[in-house]
Symmetry: C2
Subunit: 389 residues, 2 copies
């Protein structure tokens, strides 16, 4: 960290490789684009912090208009609360007693700071376990804390979540039996839909999700229970959820950095435009007649959504990245006319998937003024790196 702090004010050329670098100008434009998009659609933004796991970036998003953030893990919430972020939605189920005790403690802490913790459930047992620790916490501390609870419904991801309709209605009534649980609404997130390539596929998937969520809300409200919020959406589909009139909060997270993989989606006219703002800086460490090797392999960037793209500053510098293992990337000219870079040349990779890429790094290096002539402005800690529990 001290070595990294010494980089502040230095030109990008001084950043050792491989390193994860944010183009702060591009990130700021993405922040502004998303804030304007949410305002225009009169929908709230609660970006997913599982992407960056950084309290500094979460605070920046909130300063730019977000109502709070989402996380997936209790330990991510702990890392953000420790970094001064107090309005957090754990958009996932937590059933382990040890973790639930930590959720209860976080709920008290967030409330002390004027914030709140919300969490998902998708089973009666999950509701009972959560109510149990909240009651225990109340008894032990004498403080009457409540936690906001959302029912996750399965709108096509086929992972977690109750089936929409009657099963969700029964669970809502179950939640209402427990005073420390404050039923606030439904999570209807369709993760798979984010990367459906055609506009038509994404529209059909989100139309079905909207219908399932809206129908479930009606059925729950017919029982006299208000459904204050429906939340979901990612960067790939947020224009659809925003236009639905049904979703009250958007959970998009990748918009801040933009994955290479999202670039493969066919664009809808209504989709907001975001720029790649996250790069792995790498350099050529072995040069050969037909290829060169760079020092960034899949310990530097995640490859679950495909290999990284090599950022091209000109048509003649276009390169293709092939998997060279944990520590190497193999680069070949993307077209006959491209030149191979020489030993020591700096290159910039656009990760296929930002979330697990950031999770490989302890710090993000923020650069102002572009990748060629920029200067390191700040070092951003990935507070929740490796926060798995």
């Amino acid at each position: 960290m001290n070595t990294l702090q010494r980089l502040i004010g230095q030109p990008v050329g001084h950043i050792d490789t491989p390193a994860l670098v944010i183009d702060l100008d591009a990130m700021d434009r993405n922040l502004a684009t998303m804030a304007k998009f949410a305002r225009t659609h009169k929908v709230k933004l609660r970006p997913h912090a599982k992407m960056h796991k950084s309290a500094e970036l979460a605070r920046l998003q909130i300063k730019s208009g977000a109502v709070g953030v989402c996380v997936q893990k209790t330990s991510e919430a702990e890392a953000l609360v420790a970094g001064g972020v107090y309005d957090i939605f754990i958009s996932n189920e937590v059933v382990a007693p040890l973790k639930l005790a930590r959720v209860a403690a976080l709920t008290r802490l967030a409330q002390q700071h004027g914030g709140r913790i919300a969490i998902c459930v998708d089973s009666v047992e999950g509701v009972n376990r959560l109510a149990h620790v909240m009651n225990e916490s109340r008894a032990a501390t004498g403080v009457a804390t409540t936690i906001d609870v959302l029912i996750e419904i399965n709108v096509g991801q086929n992972r977690c979540g109750m089936e929409p309709g009657e099963p969700a209605v029964a669970l809502a009534l179950e939640i209402r039996k427990h005073p420390p649980l404050n039923f606030v609404g439904l999570q209807a997130y369709h993760g798979r839909a984010q990367h459906l390539r055609t506009v038509a596929e994404r529209r059909a998937a989100i139309a079905a999700a909207v219908k399932a969520a809206s129908d479930t809300r009606q059925r729950i409200e017919a029982q006299g229970v208000a459904v204050g919020l429906i939340t979901g959406a990612g960067t790939g589909t947020c224009a659809l959820e925003a236009a639905s009139g049904v979703y009250g909060e958007l959970q998009a997270g990748s918009y801040l950095f933009m994955d290479a993989d999202y670039g493969a989606n066919e664009r809808d006219a209504a989709d907001p435009r975001f720029e790649h703002a996250l790069f792995v800086k790498t350099q050529v460490m072995s040069a050969h007649a037909g290829h060169v090797v760079c020092d960034a392999g899949h310990k530097s960037h995640a490859i679950d959504s495909g290999l990284p793209q090599v950022h091209a500053f000109s048509e003649r510098s276009r390169l293709e990245y092939a998997n060279g293992g944990d520590e190497h990337g193999i680069l070949r000219p993307a077209a006959g006319s491209s030149r191979l870079p020489s030993l020591g040349s700096m290159l910039w990779l656009i990760p296929g998937h930002c979330d697990p890429t950031v999770n490989l790094h302890d710090h993000l290096i923020g650069v102002r003024g572009g990748l060629l002539k920029g200067v390191v402005e700040r070092i951003i800690k990935v507070d929740g790196r490796g926060a798995l529990t």
Copy 2:
């Protein structure tokens, strides 16, 4: 870390999930098997510490007969030297001036502790850059340190490395011009061969590597330059390099933990038998009619060599793991007869590839006495986690 230290002496059931757990009994058997294998074949073992990145495990391997360890990155070497490991081969090229200065400093430090640093080169420019920093270091400190240098030759990986034969001969003569560089031999590692599935393919690949290495040695020695060492081999092919009479050191690393992916290789009669000793402990956090969801996704384990396998304690508990994204795994019965585990059930995943899986975790939890009834014996730090530069 403090929370983890409190686990020592506790039953495995108390380990929160997901977590990376070593079956210490299985690991000890793997250590003994490999030590005996190397003794039998009269070949030295220098295991690759890029796999575990842990000084404690490197010291354990050395105590079990290894002559030292390999690493891929300067920062990995720094992490191990800081942890008391002083005989390290950086089995990779380093060309960045900032990194080379660190290599020179490490070389001095290792020599002060009676150890040594070795490194690969594959270009004249690389040799000149290395000689330059070693000369600078000598001038600045007044200490005459030397670094052991190996020429990496390309024996089929088609990544780094000089072509075998004359190009390598010329480079050996170049190295000899520089007093601080001590030419010790050749690296002839065939990474791709490790995962060739049939015995015949692996035999053919390593036979070609042995021939290329042996021929290159003859040509260099014909110039009056001794080639003291040929090094290479991984867990998938080490029986072939060991039997060749040409390789003096084996670099196998995965044998300590064993990847799920190695299990897919057709076994050769001469291959030593290793057991899976590394597991991701996970639990069911959402249960449904046809599937359950566990709390370990690809932020808990690497999927570059395939998805993890679910360890089965009995035929009826066999499950198949499907990708559920960064934080989830989706589990379905592997056969019609299998039962789905209930909410909160503990499960154990065998990672497809140990190296990048370990790199996701700050600590390994060592368990003695098996996965069902074992007790946490020690917490092992992954000193080089995220050491990329």
